[in-house]
């Protein structure tokens, strides 16, 4: 099979970009979408042209490095699948496929299809953790976690941090990502002491990065390669509201004895 690609090419953040057409060489339907891009890139390199820059790493749907908006949909045509697990058998011989980067202001473009998603890391730095020094942990079975809670926490924890939720959202909201992180830790007994401090810190950083608000269209859930539920957004909103009502904990003054 052969396809025609219309690919977003942009030298760097400060240069204008455009969609360019490329005819693929002969392809196998058993190729992954990224292997198809490898083949096209080899072809371009052999002709002395600059290969198409795209992000990828594990190629098994878990590292969250791959991105791409394929025919208007982040991570391509299938539900619950990342771009790297999309196979060419999902397309027909002669198809024209439009390939664009994840577009969102907090994800500045680096080159072609590669964008900078470090804003997600900064949200995590703000509070995406349980403070436990190495060595300070009690025996693992000293803290039982009801299976239902552990399973629900795991549903949230599956998030691979790819940013498709942001790319799909008309507001470039990161609420699905942040709520997955907040819910994962907030559902575990270990996460309770910092529960409200965490949600406030992470939401504040999310806003500072310039992500938009959630208007509950559900497009994030629809494209999420791990099918994270927007129920977690409701959970986060509730925690955030409680955190606001509780207010900041009072400062403890004084030096204490000794």
């Amino acid at each position: 099979m052969k396809v025609t690609l219309k690919v977003w090419r942009q030298k760097d953040r400060n240069s204008p970009g455009e969609l360019k057409s490329y005819q693929s060489p002969e392809l196998s339907p058993n190729m992954s979408f990224l292997e198809m891009l490898d083949v096209v890139n080899e072809h371009l390199a052999n002709q002395g042209e600059d290969p198409i820059a795209f992000d990828h790493d594990c190629r098994e749907g878990i590292c969250g490095t791959c991105s791409l908006v394929i025919d208007g949909k982040p991570h391509g045509p299938h539900k619950g699948i990342a771009t790297c697990q999309t196979y060419m058998r999902s397309f027909k011989d002669g198809d024209e496929i439009v390939v664009e980067p994840f577009r969102a202001k907090p994800f500045p473009l680096i080159k072609d299809l590669v964008v900078d998603r470090k804003a997600f890391d900064r949200i995590q730095h703000a509070g995406g953790f349980i403070s436990v020094r190495t060595g300070a942990a009690p025996d693992a079975n000293a803290i039982p976690v009801p299976k239902e809670n552990a399973d629900l926490a795991m549903d949230a924890a599956q998030c691979i941090g790819c940013g498709a939720c942001v790319a799909a959202c008309k507001n470039a909201s990161a609420m699905l990502f942040v709520s997955a992180k907040v819910s994962h830790l907030g559902l575990m007994p270990q996460g309770q002491p910092e529960r409200y401090r965490r949600v406030k810190a992470m939401v504040n950083q999310m806003d500072a990065e310039g992500f938009g608000s959630c208007t509950v269209t559900g497009s994030c859930e629809a494209v999420c390669p791990k099918e994270i539920s927007i129920d977690f957004i409701a959970r986060m909103n509730r925690d955030y509201l409680v955190a606001i009502l509780k207010g900041d904990p009072k400062a403890v003054r004084g030096g204490g004895a000794g």
């Binding site: 030298k11 196998s28 058993n30 992954s32 292997e35 490898d38 080899e42 371009l44 390199a45 052999n46 042209e49 600059d50 290969p51 992000d55 990828h56 790493d57 594990c58 190629r59 098994e60 878990i62 590292c63 969250g64 299938h78 619950g80 697990q85 999309t86 196979y87 680096i110 080159k111 998603r117 470090k118 997600f120 890391d121 995590q124 730095h125 509070g127 995406g128 953790f129 349980i130 403070s131 436990v132 190495t134 300070a136 942990a137 009690p138 693992a140 079975n141 039982p144 976690v145 009801p146 299976k147 552990a150 926490a153 795991m154 924890a157 599956q158 941090g161 994962h184 270990q190 996460g191």
Partner: protein
């Protein structure tokens, strides 16, 4: 010759680590913040080490070539992590985990290191649970376990089919906390391209910013490499495409010895190769062997048939037949070799004939499809995406693929290489798995090294360094290293050849798989070395790297990594040629059991099993760089066993 001092503490095996921690020097809290430590890599070992060192008060700088530390390839581990918790009350103990690991490694690992690993394993689970890692639990709320290869107890903790991601997110969260409070400075999209050695001590690195192409120098009191394994020498592997050997290979060129480079793990359950365009092989977790049964047809003529049409009596469940005690849970090296044997006999299945069945039919009958889906649903879904086949209805087809490297930079008991000040953690070092790693032990080792071992042992070195004595990044050694890095990149970009980095990588992979893969022999390895030499020469003359030196250019990254893989491929072949024995994942066809051997007649092993030669090869091979174009020098660290007797490894 390099000086190799293993620094294994004296005293009884089970007391060595405690004793060592007590007798090691401490650094007072006020002095800790005067020491700067560079950590390269942010997988399980790198993230956990960075976070823990920062908690202790050291100034930590973490470098990773990914855009985020969370993407390091530890993220992809599926099955689980071992720990000697004995929560199942099935007879597990620190000693049993130690013994299983030593035996699983075919008696080619250091006893003291492995015992420490088993001791620390229990703390790892505590730490991860406290961080909120959502391990699988029973209805009572306590932790669940499952079994893995090479063990007869259930000691593996897991989080659905993505234990690696959950443990990495735990370590990453600890790292985030320390980045957030200023304890760690994080450099992402930053690839280490050289190690800087000052007066024989590792004192810094040279780094390329992948976004801008900018080259920078970084000085420190100690350098920690946690940069993962080098299985991508084979091109096709279960590694991430970006996984590379550049950091460890360049440290090797600066004088760090490379330990046991030929020890490669070929994982038995991966999706078979389908075509030349293929960029990676996908692992199907070893946990599937808990409930899946592996078989091929007894008769060659059945191989093209629909598996459902092959009668039960015409199926050969060869692992159950050959290794009845462990059956489908035989260790990885053994299961892989057995698959190769049956395919070599012409009994392989699938289009290429290089595949065996992994069949869940019996388990679905016994447990129901829902239970199987609950346990392995994500793996079945992944299999379906890649092959377009439904494994609930028809058996999976699997074949062995390169998965892990037990070899790596040589380190002593303190995880310090022969270059003082250079520490190596996780898969990047050679230390704990001998000649074969057991399933669910890589995560354990990465976290053991990062959370518990290095944070304690690094003080043994730093206590010998005067605070504030680290050289400036403007000193001569740094200037020289940066100059070399720049010259290397300029030469790649300037070379006007006709072949892309990817084409060299593919050819190298074919050479390595053919001559240094699952079965090796003298003539083949010699041929491999000659073919690699020719490839290296062509790489020097005929490379084409499109694009510019500055800015984002993935071709530069790839070209540099492939050049390093070629050099490492040569070293692996040399090591495999030197090691005239078979052990674990290293199978030399000349050294295998035959029907004439008494061990076969006694029923301990099967014909075709690996045959060690302890008299001559009970040592760690530590290769030392001798200069460009010169043959590397072999150093030997004898393996002295005080507790366990080296014996024939039997899984029958």
């Amino acid at each position: 010759m390099a000086t190799l001092k293993s620094n294994i503490p004296s005293g009884p095996l089970s007391e060595k680590w405690e004793h060592h921690k007590f007798s090691s020097k401490l650094i007072n809290p006020a002095n800790k913040r005067k020491y700067k430590v560079i950590v390269v890599g942010a997988g399980l070992a790198g993230s956990s080490a960075s976070a823990t060192l920062a908690e202790l008060g050291y100034e930590v700088h973490n470098f990773v070539f990914h855009d985020s530390p969370r993407r390091a390839h530890s993220v992809a581990a599926q099955g689980g992590i071992n720990a000697a918790k004995n929560y199942q009350n099935d007879g597990d103990s620190v000693h049993r985990l130690f013994y299983d690991t030593i035996k699983g490694g075919d008696y080619r690992a250091r006893e003291a290191n492995v015992h420490r690993l088993a001791e620390v394993s229990v703390n790892i689970i505590d730490q991860c649970a406290a961080q909120g890692v959502p391990f699988a639990r029973e209805y009572g709320g306590l932790l669940d376990n499952r079994s893995f290869g090479g063990a007869q107890v259930s000691r593996t903790f897991y989080a659905r089919g993505q234990t690696g991601q959950q443990l990495l997110l735990g370590a990453y969260s600890a790292l985030c906390r320390m980045i957030g409070n200023g304890g760690v400075k994080s450099y992402t999209h930053s690839e280490m391209l050289d190690l800087v050695v000052v007066d024989g001590h590792a004192k810094g690195i040279v780094v390329r910013d992948l976004q801008t192409g900018e080259i920078t120098r970084h000085a420190a009191d100690a350098v920690v490499l946690a940069t993962g394994g080098y299985g991508n020498v084979f091109n096709l592997s279960t590694y991430a495409r970006g996984s590379n050997a550049t950091a460890i290979l360049r440290a090797y060129r600066r004088g760090a010895c490379f330990g046991n480079p030929c020890y490669t793990q070929i994982h038995p359950t991966c999706i078979p190769v389908s075509g030349d365009y293929q960029s990676k092989l996908t692992l199907m977790s070893e946990s599937l062997r808990n409930d899946g049964r592996i078989w091929v047809p007894k008769k060659k003529e059945d191989c093209r048939k629909n598996p459902a049409d092959i009668a039960e009596g015409d199926r050969d469940y060869y692992l159950e037949r050959m290794y009845s005690a462990f059956g489908n849970l035989a260790p990885r090296d053994i299961a892989s070799r057995a698959a190769k044997y049956v395919c070599d006999e012409g009994r392989g299945v699938g289009e290429t004939g290089l595949g065996v069945y992994l069949d869940f039919g019996d388990s679905i009958k016994r447990l129901g499809e829902d239970k199987v889906r609950e346990r392995y649903g994500n793996l079945f879904a992944m299999y379906h995406e890649i092959t377009n086949e439904d494994a609930y209805k028809t058996p999976m087809r699997i074949y062995p693929a390169v998965h892990y490297t037990m070899g790596g930079l040589w380190v002593d008991y303190n995880l310090m290489s022969n270059l003082p000040g250079l520490f190596v953690l996780g898969e990047a070092n050679f230390s704990d798995h001998g000649a074969n790693r057991l399933g669910a032990s890589a995560l354990m080792q990465g976290l053991s090294d990062g959370y518990f071992v290095l944070p304690s042992t690094i003080a043994t070195y730093l206590a010998t360094v005067k605070p504030g004595a680290r050289p400036s990044a403007d000193s001569a050694a740094f200037t020289a290293a940066e100059k070399e890095v720049r010259a290397g990149i300029a030469a790649m970009v300037g070379s006007k050849g006709t072949r892309t980095p990817a084409s060299f990588h593919k050819e190298l992979g074919r050479i390595m798989w053919e001559h240094c893969g699952m079965a090796r022999n003298k003539a083949g390895l010699e041929k491999g070395i000659a073919r690699i030499a020719a490839l290296r020469e062509e790489y020097g003359k005929n490379l084409r790297v499109p694009g510019q030196e500055n800015g984002w250019n993935q071709s530069i990254e790839q070209a540099g990594r492939v050049g390093d893989f070629i050099e490492l491929g040569d070293l692996m072949c040399r090591d495999a040629l030197m090691r005239e024995e078979s052990c674990g994942g290293h199978f030399r066809e000349e050294y295998q059991y035959t029907a004439a051997d008494s061990e076969v007649q006694q029923g301990l092993v099967n014909p075709g099993d690996v045959k060690r030669r302890d008299d001559e090869f009970a040592f760690v091979a530590a290769w030392e760089y001798a200069g460009a174009g010169k043959a590397p020098v072999l150093n030997k660290e004898p393996l002295v066993y005080e507790e366990v007797k080296m014996s024939t490894r039997s899984y029958k």
